[in-house]
């Protein structure tokens, strides 16, 4: 038998991870929707609201920038990421990757890392544009805090998205539920948080993903002293990450049948 050159060793992890990251980055750069969702949409909101009296009516520039940041994270994670993942599952991309010697966690981690990196860059762009058009001056420390909160927010919405794709098999259903969930979370965080729906709703809203993230962004931009509410918001966000990531990993279905 002359099978000397036949592959029998497990390939190096670094090369596999590098190749995945590279491929996922190319996919991200080529997919216009995720870029539009994560950066363009929030920037448009910021620019539009910088004219006239809109900002004072909507609660000041801090809240507007926070809202733009949150919206960018929410849409790109809950619509962009989930749909791409569900689609790749449906057409068999995930199965093809899974028969290679790359472990499952590596395939998923690469996608998540690229998504979070995109959200990070988008958030930086949004804050810079926001501070310019709304005449806000931020110091380096605030930028770093915004970035930290953005990573936390991205992780939270990605975990929710991962759980959604994990539990729901059809791409169409993922798309429909993702949209509804997005609107629901946004309304809950904004309307509930405004207090017009009563105290009970306000408490629920403060603890909701969008509400908690809005509070964190807004306080970081405000440079107000760290309040007890911020600790609760932080705890809420971390809690959502843990719970939904667990669901999304534990019950993730790799095939669409």
């Amino acid at each position: 038998m002359t099978n000397t050159c036949v592959a029998t060793v497990r390939p190096p992890r670094g090369l596999a991870m590098g190749s995945l990251l590279r491929a996922d980055s190319i996919v991200m750069l080529n997919s216009k929707t995720s870029l539009v969702l994560s950066a363009l949409l929030p920037v448009v909101i910021l620019v539009v609201t910088s004219f006239g009296k809109a900002q004072s009516r909507l609660g000041g520039s801090n809240l507007l920038i926070s809202l733009a940041l949150t919206l960018g994270l929410l849409t790109s994670c809950l619509l962009g990421f989930t749909l791409a993942l569900a689609h790749d599952r449906e057409i068999g991309v995930l199965q093809r990757l899974r028969v290679t010697p790359a472990p499952n966690w590596m395939i998923m981690t690469s996608r998540l890392v690229v998504q979070i990196a995109t959200n990070l860059l988008a958030s930086i762009v949004v804050v810079i544009v926001g501070s310019i058009v709304h005449g806000l001056t931020l110091n380096i420390g605030q930028y770093l805090l915004v970035i930290t909160v953005a990573i936390l927010g991205a992780a939270m919405f990605l975990a929710i998205g991962q759980a959604l794709v994990g539990l729901v098999q059809s791409t169409n259903a993922v798309s429909a539920i993702g949209r509804l969930l997005m609107i629901f979370l946004l309304l809950l965080g904004l309307l509930g948080g405004s207090g017009i729906l009563g105290d009970a709703m306000q408490t629920i809203a403060d603890w909701s993903p969008v509400g908690a993230l809005l509070a964190l962004f807004s306080d970081v931009l405000n440079l107000s002293a760290w309040s007890g509410q911020d600790t609760y918001s932080l705890l809420a966000c971390v809690g959502y990450v843990v719970v939904f990531a667990f669901i999304g990993i534990r019950w993730f279905r790799w095939n669409s049948r």
């Binding site: 099978n3 497990r10 093809r96 899974r98 290679t100």
Partner: protein, 262 residues
């Protein structure tokens, strides 16, 4: 069928009493067979017989309900990544990321299998499979035959010990089909073993050293194509469907019945 002489190397694939179930429904029900080094083995069976499910268990895509699966002596369930490193796979229905070009796909899968490919090497490989003009295209922009050639190239990128091909010639024109047969034989010549599924008896006879016929998840018969014809030529079920001297197709239809599956 007990082997008396102990082989120096383990079989490339050793399946014993494999059972695969989806929910309560068992679709592979106690299948056992071995594939030797340098062998081309054909898995035949009607639609829904359990061919793809058997392959999925070997590939680690589904967890078997019971049974043992060894690839080159490595237990697929215990050491899945080591087993996968030895397998080259072409799935019956799968795809590559729609946003990647052919060149980027080759890069990605090379990396996943531990093969670092330069731009020039990818170019040379693509020329050898007639895709040099397509390097910048997306997978979806290729014709069916081109997609199939790329998928086979990806499956063999790391020169795997065992190649699993699920209906590799489905939808190909006669020229491409012959081209694929040639490529499969070349690969065998290089020391690889191949497990393929097909609905073409002509193909099974032309390229397979041995074939197994399965239906309803159970293995009905196994052997060289010519042996199977000899073995079942007097079976009344085979005689009743044969026109003249029994062929492999007569054996297949005789053993699996004439009704159409869904």
């Amino acid at each position: 069928m007990s082997e008396v002489n102990v082989p120096a190397q383990p079989p490339v694939l050793d399946i014993s009493d494999l059972r695969v179930a989806y929910g309560a429904r068992t679709v592979v029900d106690g299948v056992s067979f071995q594939i030797r080094r340098g062998e081309i083995f054909g898995l035949l069976g009607p639609n829904g017989a359990g061919k793809t499910s058997t392959l999925s268990a070997i590939e680690g895509l589904v967890a078997p309900k019971s049974g043992r699966l060894l690839v080159d002596g490595i237990d697929v369930q215990e050491e899945p990544l080591d087993a996968k490193a030895r397998l080259g796979v072409q799935l019956q229905s799968s795809s590559f990321q729609a946003e990647l070009t052919i060149q980027q796909i080759a890069r990605l899968y090379g990396g996943l299998y531990g093969v670092k490919l330069s731009r020039a090497q990818i170019g040379t490989s693509m020329r050898s499979i007639g895709l040099e003009e397509e390097l910048g295209k997306r997978f979806k922009q290729l014709s069916g035959g081109q997609q199939q050639r790329l998928a086979l190239f990806i499956a063999t990128i790391h020169n795997p010990l065992l190649l699993l091909l699920d209906e590799p010639t489905a939808g190909l024109d006669p020229q491409s089909r012959r081209g694929l047969w040639r490529r499969i034989e070349e690969l065998r010549g290089e020391g690889n073993s191949i497990l393929l599924t097909t609905h073409s008896m002509e193909e099974a006879q032309a390229v397979c050293d041995r074939v197994a016929i399965i239906d309803h998840g159970a293995l009905l018969t196994i052997g060289k194509p010519s042996e199977l014809i000899d073995k079942h030529r007097d079976d009344p079920r085979v005689l009743s469907v044969a026109h003249g001297a029994p062929t492999l197709e007569d054996v297949f239809i005789g053993l699996t019945g004439s009704e159409i599956r869904d």
